[in-house]
């Protein structure tokens, strides 16, 4: 019962704020709306007994990534869409048809799959704990763990190089 209520609240929140992300004209409002979606998804993770993933979701996404978005939006200021003609206009119909096809395909797959309801009581109750996730990372998924550090390093170096070119463009070193 508790899971059903949590799921309902989080699902409505995620979809409602998600619609805000997609349809708000103002970039700032869309970014703030994204926070709502991310917190709702964190609620879903808690309902799925994944408290560690929920905490990381709030800290990394709602904490760091959205703040970075808001910083860039504030830095660039408000600049509306200008009326250049859409060069992909002719393909729009095909795009929407593909989208509806994807939706129908996914719905059919979910409806006809034989996976049962979520297990009522997990055999090991600590699947979502930091200890069990760390254990999985350092035993079965060690390569993913190492590649993660490499990806973050490459992203940091790339951001520094992009920023250095921009500073030189302004006459700095």
């Amino acid at each position: 019962m508790g899971e059903a209520v949590t799921f309902a609240v989080a699902a409505v929140g995620a979809l409602g704020f998600g619609i805000g992300v997609v349809f708000f004209r103002d970039a700032f409002r869309a970014a703030v709306s994204l926070i709502g979606t991310l917190v709702s998804v964190a609620l879903l993770f808690i309902a799925l007994l994944a408290p560690f993933a929920a905490a990381v979701q709030v800290i990394v996404y709602a904490g760091a990534i959205v703040v970075m978005f808001l910083f860039v939006i504030a830095y660039l200021g408000d600049r509306g869409d200008i009326g250049t003609p859409d060069r992909l206009d002719r393909w729009q119909v095909i795009g929407w048809m593909g989208l509806m096809g994807l939706g129908a395909f996914g719905a059919i797959v979910v409806q006809t799959s034989t996976a049962g309801p979520v297990q009522a009581a997990p055999a090991s109750t600590d699947v979502g704990s930091p200890a069990s996730i760390g254990d999985a990372f350092l035993t079965g998924h060690l390569l993913a763990f190492e590649v993660t550090s490499l990806v973050l390093l490459v992203a940091a170096v790339g951001a520094v190089i992009l920023a250095r070119g921009a500073v030189q463009g302004e006459g700095g070193r």
Binding site: M1, A11, A14, L15, G18, I19, V21, V22, A27, A30, L34, T37, L38, V41, L44, L48, A50, A53, V56, Q57, V60, Y61, A64, M68, F69, V72, Y75, L76, D81, I82, D86, L99, G103, G106, V110, G116, P117, V118, Q119, A120, P122, V127, S132, I133, A136, F137, H141, V151, L152, V154, A155, A156, G158, A159, L162, A163, G165, A166, G169, E170
Partner: protein
């Protein structure tokens, strides 16, 4: 514990399609990145749902790796947006057809 896995998957599908609509409709690269975040979150919901279904932490490991990739993608994406903004006055992906600065 009454919510079937299908409900989580349908929510994931809806979020993914919402993000896809955003990617298709938006012209501002910032909004494109926001919509991509929405799609990545949809994937994470499905991954953690399966992790719960099979009672296996691997799904949560995948979700955490997806979060790392999302963080790296945002760093590079926002860096590119700021760098492109310096040479142009408006932000429109349809205008960005050149690979040279």
């Amino acid at each position: 514990m009454s919510v079937p896995i299908g409900a989580y998957l349908m929510l994931s599908l809806a979020l993914l399609i919402l993000g896809l609509i955003g990617v298709m409709r938006r012209r501002n690269p910032l909004m494109l990145l926001l919509s991509v975040e929405l799609m990545l979150n949809a994937g994470n919901v499905a991954l953690i749902g399966f992790s719960r279904l099979w009672d296996d932490p691997s799904g949560q490991v995948f979700a955490l790796v997806v979060m790392v990739v999302a963080a790296a993608e945002v760093v590079i994406g926002l860096g590119l947006v700021v760098a492109i903004f310096r040479s142009r006055t408006n932000l429109d992906v349809d205008e960005m057809s050149s690979m040279r600065g």
